[in-house]
């Protein structure tokens, strides 16, 4: 049996929903375990006081990348069937900045706001209401922004394709980037640890 199971038709729609539910609960559980149900901890990221978000996310990226690479290498996963979000360069840059601003102002990203809501945090509920209002606004404004949202379409892009490098080399470089990033995160945390006290005075 080879993955991706859904694409090869080994999972039906119902089974894939059950799997999605299980993965979602697991995702939420580990976000909460990492302390990401707290807006304070999440926003500390942006002031370099607590780099846990960076560490957890980059660890997840490296773990998934190594797992997929080796599963692909032994032939258990057909990497060419794994869904890659198509690149729309400028719309995604603008969208990323919007999400970042919302993250700093609201204190949560969409996933962590659901995690925080499930532990009864009111600000998370406000955040989720905001998400739905945003969805409504985008839906209503779609005719006006559709042209921009579809612009600079670069299709399905991966780093090995962009840089014309072997996949293994890119995997190695990303691992180095992660390890270097973790070291750098520690340096930043030590430097900015006493910042809030000064700002409060």
């Amino acid at each position: 049996m080879n993955a991706p199971f859904f694409k090869f038709g080994l999972f039906g729609d119902e089974v894939s929903l059950i799997v999605a539910c299980a993965i979602g609960i697991g995702f939420g559980f580990f976000l909460e375990q990492a302390g990401f149900g707290s807006a304070r901890k999440l926003t500390d990221q942006f002031y370099f006081k607590d780099m846990a978000v960076f560490r957890v996310m980059f660890t997840a990226i490296v773990t998934a990348m190594l797992g997929l690479f080796y599963l692909g290498a032994v032939g258990w996963v057909d990497l060419s069937l794994v869904y890659v979000t198509p690149t729309y360069l400028w719309p995604q840059i603008v969208g990323g900045l919007l999400l970042g601003v919302g993250f700093i102002v609201g204190g949560y990203c969409p996933g962590t706001s659901v995690v925080a809501m499930s532990t009864g945090k009111v600000d998370a509920v406000v955040n989720i209401v905001g998400i739905f209002v945003g969805v409504l606004v985008i839906g209503e404004a779609w005719p006006a922004i559709e042209g921009f949202a579809n612009s600079s379409a670069l299709g399905r892009l991966t780093l090995p394709e962009v840089f014309h490098l072997p996949m293994g080399l890119v995997v190695f470089l990303v691992v180095l980037m992660a390890v270097g990033g973790f070291w750098g995160a520690g340096v930043l945390e030590r430097r900015f640890a006493d910042r809030p006290a000064k700002e409060d005075q």
Binding site: F69, L81, G168, F172, V175, A178
Partner: protein
């Protein structure tokens, strides 16, 4: 580094070392590819029987008018034929170049040729290489020009519903640089204009934001991603 020094590292540092070791392993492996090709003849036969392997010219036209970008349109004819006329968004690819193309297995691929034989053969090659989303443009470029670029004007006895359908196709034909043509009377030869491709330099440009979106667009592909 001695074993004692290793033991003194924190858990996180050990994990980092494991990651670096796996990264080095990946570096040695380069770009792995699983190139084994197997054909499930019953599965392919079932697909052909169920006629789920093709896209009609109407569906394709609606996708292009709506500015959909989630598919690759491949023109399998010669370079000269492609230069003379091709469907907007189409890429020219010889059937012999299929094996080395940059087509990815998670893309929706629509193939067309002059009348459909080459595209059916290319479809089989792609399916054998486990491309799950390869489709054939039904009737090839011939049916495309007859149905989309130069749609037939309905007969006098057409029902109101048929007339509404025709008004929509006529508008779409103009989008693709064509025009409606007179119906071929019983017994008369097919209208030649329908078989002649429009002049290449005046190919309409596809502009999604301003394009009118015809109602009843084709059913969407299964949603994926996040």
């Amino acid at each position: 580094m001695s074993f004692l020094q290793l033991a003194r590292l924190s858990g996180n540092q050990k994990l980092a070392l494991v990651a670096i070791a796996l990264g080095l392993g990946a570096l040695a492996l380069g770009s792995p590819r699983s190139g084994r090709v197997t054909i499930d003849e019953r599965e392919l036969a079932a697909i052909v029987e169920g006629e789920v392997d093709h896209v009609t010219p109407d569906e394709l036209a609606d996708w292009i008018v709506a500015g959909k970008q989630d598919f690759r349109l491949i023109d399998l004819r010669s370079v000269a034929e492609y230069a003379e006329y091709h469907i907007p968004q189409a890429e020219n690819l010889a059937i012999t170049a299929l094996a080395d193309s940059d087509l990815a297995r998670n893309e929706k691929i629509v193939l067309y040729s002059a009348e459909g034989i080459h595209s059916a053969q290319a479809w089989f090659l792609l399916r054998a290489k486990k491309f799950p989303a390869a489709y054939i443009l039904l009737g090839g470029l011939k049916q495309w020009t007859e149905q989309v670029v130069f749609p037939e004007t309905p007969a006098e006895s057409a029902t109101p519903a048929e007339r509404i359908d025709f008004a929509r196709s006529a508008e779409r034909a103009r989008f693709f640089g064509g025009a409606p043509r007179a119906a071929a009377g019983p017994g008369s030869a097919p209208v030649a204009a329908g078989l002649v491709a429009p002049v290449a330099p005046t190919l309409p440009k596809v502009a999604p934001p301003t394009a009118p979106t015809p109602a009843g667009a084709a059913a969407k592909k299964k949603k994926e991603g996040c």
